[in-house]
Protein backbone atom coordinates (compact mmCIF):
# COMPACT_ATOMS: atom_id res chain seq x y z
CA UNK A 1 0.00 0.00 0.00
CA UNK A 2 1.25 3.44 -0.86
CA UNK A 3 1.82 5.91 1.95
CA UNK A 4 -0.85 8.57 2.22
CA UNK A 5 -1.06 12.26 3.02
CA UNK A 6 -4.20 13.22 4.91
CA UNK A 7 -5.97 16.53 4.24
CA UNK A 8 -8.43 17.50 6.99
CA UNK A 9 -10.65 20.51 6.26
CA UNK A 10 -14.40 21.03 6.31
CA UNK A 11 -14.18 23.44 3.37
CA UNK A 12 -14.33 21.64 0.04
CA UNK A 13 -12.68 24.49 -1.86
CA UNK A 14 -9.71 24.55 0.50
CA UNK A 15 -9.36 20.77 0.19
CA UNK A 16 -9.35 21.14 -3.56
CA UNK A 17 -6.67 23.86 -3.39
CA UNK A 18 -4.53 21.68 -1.11
CA UNK A 19 -5.00 18.72 -3.43
CA UNK A 20 -3.80 20.77 -6.35
CA UNK A 21 -0.85 22.11 -4.35
CA UNK A 22 0.52 18.82 -3.11
CA UNK A 23 2.81 16.48 -5.02
CA UNK A 24 1.18 13.39 -6.41
CA UNK A 25 4.22 11.21 -6.83
CA UNK A 26 4.70 8.44 -4.33
CA UNK A 27 1.69 9.30 -2.16
CA UNK A 28 -2.04 8.95 -2.14
CA UNK A 29 -3.97 12.03 -1.10
CA UNK A 30 -6.78 11.18 1.28
CA UNK A 31 -9.36 13.73 2.42
CA UNK A 32 -11.34 14.02 5.62
CA UNK A 33 -14.19 16.53 5.91
CA UNK A 34 -13.85 16.78 9.65
CA UNK A 35 -12.11 15.59 12.79
CA UNK A 36 -14.17 12.45 13.27
CA UNK A 37 -13.43 11.26 9.75
CA UNK A 38 -9.74 12.11 10.22
CA UNK A 39 -9.57 9.87 13.28
CA UNK A 40 -11.38 7.04 11.50
CA UNK A 41 -8.97 7.23 8.58
CA UNK A 42 -5.92 7.12 10.85
CA UNK A 43 -7.19 4.38 13.14
CA UNK A 44 -5.43 1.50 11.43
CA UNK A 45 -2.66 3.19 9.49
CA UNK A 46 -0.29 6.10 10.04
CA UNK A 47 -0.35 8.85 7.43
CA UNK A 48 2.98 10.09 6.08
CA UNK A 49 1.83 13.64 6.85
CA UNK A 50 -1.32 15.45 7.95
CA UNK A 51 -2.62 18.88 6.95
CA UNK A 52 -5.06 19.84 9.69
CA UNK A 53 -7.55 22.69 9.70
CA UNK A 54 -7.95 24.26 13.13
CA UNK A 55 -11.52 25.51 13.18
CA UNK A 56 -13.98 22.85 12.11
CA UNK A 57 -17.50 21.91 13.11
CA UNK A 58 -17.57 18.82 15.30
CA UNK A 59 -14.12 17.81 16.52
CA UNK A 60 -11.79 20.79 16.11
CA UNK A 61 -8.14 20.68 15.13
CA UNK A 62 -7.25 21.20 18.78
CA UNK A 63 -9.16 18.04 19.67
CA UNK A 64 -7.89 15.93 16.78
CA UNK A 65 -4.21 16.88 17.07
CA UNK A 66 -3.43 15.27 20.47
CA UNK A 67 -5.18 12.04 19.47
CA UNK A 68 -3.32 11.94 16.16
CA UNK A 69 -0.02 12.47 17.92
CA UNK A 70 -0.84 9.84 20.53
CA UNK A 71 -1.54 7.27 17.81
CA UNK A 72 1.21 8.25 15.42
CA UNK A 73 3.88 10.29 17.20
CA UNK A 74 6.21 10.29 14.20
CA UNK A 75 3.68 11.65 11.70
CA UNK A 76 4.32 15.33 10.99
CA UNK A 77 1.27 17.55 11.32
CA UNK A 78 0.88 20.94 9.63
CA UNK A 79 -1.85 23.04 11.22
CA UNK A 80 -3.67 25.52 8.98
CA UNK A 81 -5.79 28.27 10.45
CA UNK A 82 -7.65 31.27 9.10
CA UNK A 83 -7.64 32.96 12.49
CA UNK A 84 -4.98 35.31 13.86
CA UNK A 85 -1.91 33.24 14.57
CA UNK A 86 -1.06 34.68 17.97
CA UNK A 87 -4.17 33.11 19.42
CA UNK A 88 -3.55 29.56 18.41
CA UNK A 89 0.09 29.02 17.51
CA UNK A 90 1.17 28.33 21.08
CA UNK A 91 -1.71 25.94 21.72
CA UNK A 92 -1.09 24.07 18.48
CA UNK A 93 2.62 23.77 19.16
CA UNK A 94 2.09 22.62 22.72
CA UNK A 95 -0.23 19.92 21.36
CA UNK A 96 2.46 18.70 18.98
CA UNK A 97 1.95 20.60 15.73
CA UNK A 98 5.16 20.51 13.67
CA UNK A 99 4.32 23.55 11.59
CA UNK A 100 1.68 26.25 12.02
CA UNK A 101 0.49 28.14 8.94
CA UNK A 102 -2.09 30.89 8.71
CA UNK A 103 -4.50 31.30 5.82
CA UNK A 104 -4.19 32.83 3.32
CA UNK A 105 -1.12 30.71 2.73
CA UNK A 106 1.24 30.50 -0.20
CA UNK A 107 0.79 27.15 -1.96
CA UNK A 108 4.43 27.24 -3.07
CA UNK A 109 5.68 27.80 0.46
CA UNK A 110 3.35 25.12 1.75
CA UNK A 111 4.67 22.74 -0.90
CA UNK A 112 8.25 23.47 0.18
CA UNK A 113 7.28 22.76 3.80
CA UNK A 114 5.56 19.52 2.84
CA UNK A 115 8.58 18.39 0.82
CA UNK A 116 10.80 19.11 3.81
CA UNK A 117 8.65 17.14 6.25
CA UNK A 118 7.78 14.16 4.09
CA UNK A 119 9.92 11.14 4.63
CA UNK A 120 11.99 10.02 1.67
CA UNK A 121 9.61 8.91 -0.99
CA UNK A 122 9.45 5.37 -2.12
CA UNK A 123 9.70 6.12 -5.79
CA UNK A 124 7.16 3.95 -7.50
CA UNK A 125 5.81 6.58 -9.79
CA UNK A 126 3.44 5.24 -12.33
CA UNK A 127 2.61 8.61 -13.87
Amino acid sequence: MRPFVLIVDDDEVIRSLLRMTLPEEGFDLVEARGGEEALQLTDARAPALVLLDWRMPGLSGAEVLPELKRRHPDTPVIVLTAEPETQHRQTAESLGADVFITKPFSPLQLLATVERLLPERSVDESA
Partner: protein
Protein backbone atom coordinates in the same frame (compact mmCIF):
# COMPACT_ATOMS: atom_id res chain seq x y z
CA UNK B 1 -10.11 41.92 24.96
CA UNK B 2 -12.54 43.88 22.88
CA UNK B 3 -14.68 46.42 24.59
CA UNK B 4 -16.21 47.84 21.43
CA UNK B 5 -19.17 45.52 21.47
CA UNK B 6 -17.92 42.71 19.23
CA UNK B 7 -16.93 39.69 21.31
CA UNK B 8 -13.54 38.11 20.55
CA UNK B 9 -15.18 34.85 19.54
CA UNK B 10 -17.22 36.66 16.88
CA UNK B 11 -14.11 38.43 15.58
CA UNK B 12 -12.30 35.09 15.31
CA UNK B 13 -15.22 33.63 13.46
CA UNK B 14 -15.33 36.65 11.15
CA UNK B 15 -11.57 36.34 10.50
CA UNK B 16 -12.13 32.70 9.59
CA UNK B 17 -15.06 33.46 7.30
CA UNK B 18 -13.19 36.24 5.49
CA UNK B 19 -9.77 34.64 5.29
CA UNK B 20 -10.95 31.29 3.99
CA UNK B 21 -12.24 32.57 0.62
CA UNK B 22 -9.30 34.98 0.36
CA UNK B 23 -7.00 31.94 0.81
CA UNK B 24 -8.67 30.24 -2.08
CA UNK B 25 -8.25 33.29 -4.34
CA UNK B 26 -4.62 33.90 -3.36
CA UNK B 27 -3.79 30.21 -3.54
CA UNK B 28 -5.21 29.45 -6.95
CA UNK B 29 -3.82 32.70 -8.34
CA UNK B 30 -0.35 31.74 -7.14
CA UNK B 31 -0.60 28.26 -8.62
CA UNK B 32 -1.77 29.68 -11.95
CA UNK B 33 0.91 32.35 -11.92
CA UNK B 34 3.56 29.69 -11.47
CA UNK B 35 2.24 26.81 -13.47
CA UNK B 36 0.61 28.34 -16.52
CA UNK B 37 2.50 28.34 -19.80
CA UNK B 38 0.68 31.41 -21.05
CA UNK B 39 2.12 34.85 -20.35
CA UNK B 40 -1.29 36.54 -20.27
CA UNK B 41 -2.64 34.01 -17.80
CA UNK B 42 0.43 34.37 -15.59
CA UNK B 43 0.12 38.16 -15.61
CA UNK B 44 -3.60 38.07 -14.91
CA UNK B 45 -3.07 35.60 -12.09
CA UNK B 46 -0.38 37.85 -10.63
CA UNK B 47 -2.82 40.78 -10.64
CA UNK B 48 -5.55 38.71 -9.00
CA UNK B 49 -3.10 37.64 -6.34
CA UNK B 50 -1.95 41.20 -5.65
CA UNK B 51 -5.53 42.45 -5.37
CA UNK B 52 -6.45 39.58 -3.04
CA UNK B 53 -3.41 40.31 -0.88
CA UNK B 54 -4.49 43.94 -0.62
CA UNK B 55 -7.92 42.78 0.41
CA UNK B 56 -6.36 40.51 3.01
CA UNK B 57 -4.30 43.40 4.42
CA UNK B 58 -7.46 45.51 4.66
CA UNK B 59 -9.35 42.74 6.41
CA UNK B 60 -6.48 42.25 8.87
CA UNK B 61 -6.40 45.98 9.57
CA UNK B 62 -10.16 46.17 10.12
CA UNK B 63 -10.10 43.21 12.49
CA UNK B 64 -7.14 44.63 14.40
CA UNK B 65 -8.97 47.96 14.73
CA UNK B 66 -12.10 46.21 15.96
CA UNK B 67 -10.05 44.33 18.59
CA UNK B 68 -8.33 47.50 19.75
CA UNK B 69 -11.62 49.24 20.49
Amino acid sequence: MSSGGIPEEDLSSLAHELNTPISVIVGYAELLENRSNETTTREAAGQIKQAAERLRATVDQLLDDARAR
